[in-house]
Amino acid sequence: MSVARFWRKIPQRYNLIGTRCETCGRHFFPPRTFCPDCRRNGKIVDHKFAGKGTVVTYTIIHTANEQFEALTPYVLAIIQLDEGPRMTSQIVCRPDEVKIGMRVKSVFRKIATDGRSGIIHYGTKFVPEE
C-alpha cells in the first residue's frame, strides 16, 4: 500500500473516526459524508467510535497473505461496534478463545509493514474485554 493511501485513512485506522447522521442517529464506519436514509436532510458530523463491540462471526486464518504469514494462526472476525456499524479486524486472542457474541475492545497494534525498508502500517485490532 502506498504511503498516501495509508496516510489518508490514519484517523480511521488509529482512532476509529467515522461519522454519524445527527438527523437520524445512524453511525457510519468508515465515514460517509452522505446519509443514505436522510439523503439531503441528513446532518453529518464526525464521530469517534468507542472501540467496544461484539463478535458477529470469525475464522482462524492458517494460510495468510504474505504480509501476515508470521502471525498465523490468527483470528479474523467481523465485529459489530456498539454504535451499529460492523467492521472486519483481527482479534488478539488464542484461537480457542474466540466465540460468536464475545465482547471485544480496541487496541493499537502494528498491522503490517511495507517490507524491511518501507513504512509501518499501524492500526486497530481487538482483544477480548475482560
Partner: protein, 350 residues
C-alpha cells in the same frame, strides 16, 4: 505547581523465564537469577513494537483522567527501540491520542533515561507556560544479543506521564541531573544489538551517575532519604538498585513498591518510569517519592515528587485501567523459539 496530571503503563502479556533462556545457552539458571535477582521478563507480541506500547501507555493515562487532547502541546517520547531511525514515534503517539496538529514533538534517545529526560523537558515547557500539558513517555522493546547477559533481562514495556500545572496528582518539586561522557553501554548505527563494558557498567556507569544525581538533589533541596516515603531507581537488575539504595541511605521498604524488575525484566527507557508508576499505584496523599533514573552514555535524572490529594479525588480514577501489578498478572509464557520469533531474532527470507 508543575507535576504529574495523570499516568499510565503498558506491559505486554508475554513472558520468558530466565531458566528457559539459560537452557538454550547451557548456562546455570540459578546462578543467573541469584546474581541478577530477575526471574522472568516481558516480551512483545508479534504485532507490538515500541510505538504500540507507547500509544497504549498514553491511552491508559488519558483513560484515568479526562484531559482534552487538543490541550496537549508537547509529546516527547524516549526509547532505545524507536521503530524508525528517522520518523518520530512521537508523531504516531500524538496522532493516536488526538493531540495533533497543534503540538511540538520529538523522539529522545538516552539509553535507559530517555523517558525521564522527556519528563524534564515537559516540566520546562509547562513551567514556562509554553504549553498547557506535555506528555512524556519512557518505553522500549529492549534488545539483548543472544546468549549475552543482557538477553536475560532485556524486556518490553512503557509508562506515560502527562505533565501540567492544573491540579496534579503529584507535584514534581525539583529535578536535577548528572551527566558525563562514559562509554559503558552503546549501540552503533546499523548494529542489531547493543554492546557493553561488562563490569565497567557498574561503578563508573550506574553507581557513579545515580549517586551523583541523587546527592546533587539532596544538596539542592536540603532533603535526605528519611524525608521520602518511597524511592525508585533505574533497575537493570534487582541488585544494582538495592545496592545504591543502601549506599545512599534508603531502606528496602522504601524501594519495594517500585522494584518491579524481578518479574518484569529491564524495560530500559521504561524501567524507572514503570517503577514510578508502580509506586504511584499504591501511593497516598502526602507520600514523597524519590526517583533516580540512569541511562548509559551516561547520565541520571533525579526527581523529588510529592503526592497530592488529587490522587484520591473524583477527577482521577486510578482503577479505570490496569495498574502495574495487574498487568504483571496472567502472563503467557513462551519457549525460546517463540521468544526469538517475537523478538525478530530469527533470520527470515528478506
Amino acid at each position: 505547581m508543575v507535576g504529574i496530571i495523570t499516568y499510565g503503563v503498558y506491559i505486554p502479556r508475554y513472558r520468558i523465564k530466565v531458566e528457559e533462556i539459560a537452557r538454550v545457552w547451557g548456562a546455570n539458571a540459578a546462578d543467573i537469577t541469584g546474581g541478577l535477582g530477575v526471574f522472568e521478563k516481558s516480551v512483545p507480541d508479534l504485532d507490538e513494537d515500541a510505538a504500540t506500547i507507547a500509544v497504549e501507555a498514553a491511552r491508559n493515562a488519558l483513560l484515568r483522567r479526562y484531559v482534552d487532547p487538543k490541550e496537549i502541546g508537547a509529546v516527547y517520547v524516549g526509547s532505545e527501540s524507536h521503530p524508525y531511525a528517522v520518523k518520530p514515534t512521537a508523531c504516531t503517539v500524538g496522532e493516536a491520542i488526538g493531540a495533533t496538529p497543534n503540538m511540538t514533538a520529538a523522539d529522545y534517545e538516552f539509553a535507559c533515561k530517555a523517558g525521564t529526560a522527556a519528563i524534564q523537558t515537559c516540566m520546562g515547557l509547562v513551567k514556562s507556560k509554553m504549553v498547557t500539558y506535555g506528555l512524556a513517555i519512557g518505553f522500549d522493546v529492549s534488545q539483548g544479543a543472544p546468549s549475552d547477559a543482557l538477553e536475560y533481562t532485556a524486556a518490553a514495556g512503557g509508562a506515560a506521564f502527562l505533565i501540567g500545572r492544573d491540579d496534579p496528582l503529584a507535584t514534581i518539586h525539583h529535578t536535577c541531573s548528572f551527566t558525563t561522557d562514559t562509554p559503558d553501554f552503546w549501540r552503533r548505527e546499523g548494529q542489531e544489538y547493543p554492546r557493553h563494558g561488562g563490569r565497567f557498567t557498574g561503578e563508573p556507569g550506574y553507581f557513579k551517575h545515580v549517586e551523583g544525581a541523587s546527592r546533587l538533589l539532596f544538596e539542592q533541596t536540603g532533603k535526605s532519604p528519611k524525608d521520602f516515603t518511597y524511592a525508585v531507581f533505574h533497575q537493570p537488575n534487582a541488585k544494582f538498585p538495592q545496592k545504591v539504595a543502601k549506599t545512599l541511605g534508603f531502606t528496602p521498604e522504601q524501594i519495594k513498591p517500585g522494584l518491579v524488575v524481578p518479574r518484569l525484566g529491564n524495560t530500559y527507557s521504561g524501567a524507572s518510569p514503570i517503577g514510578l508508576a508502580a509506586t504511584l499505584d499504591i501511593a497516598k496523599p502526602g507520600d514523597r517519592i524519590f526517583v533516580c533514573s540512569f541511562g548509559s552514555g551516561a547520565g541520571s535524572d533525579a526527581f523529588d515528587i510529592e503526592v497530592t490529594d488529587a490522587i484520591l479525588s473524583d477527577t482521577f480514577r486510578r482503577d479505570a485501567v490496569p495498574g502495574v501489578e495487574q498487568q504483571l498478572k496472567n502472563p503467557i509464557y513462551l519457549d525460546y523459539a517463540r521468544y526469538a520469533k517475537h523478538k525478530g531474532k530469527i533470520v527470515m527470507q528478506s
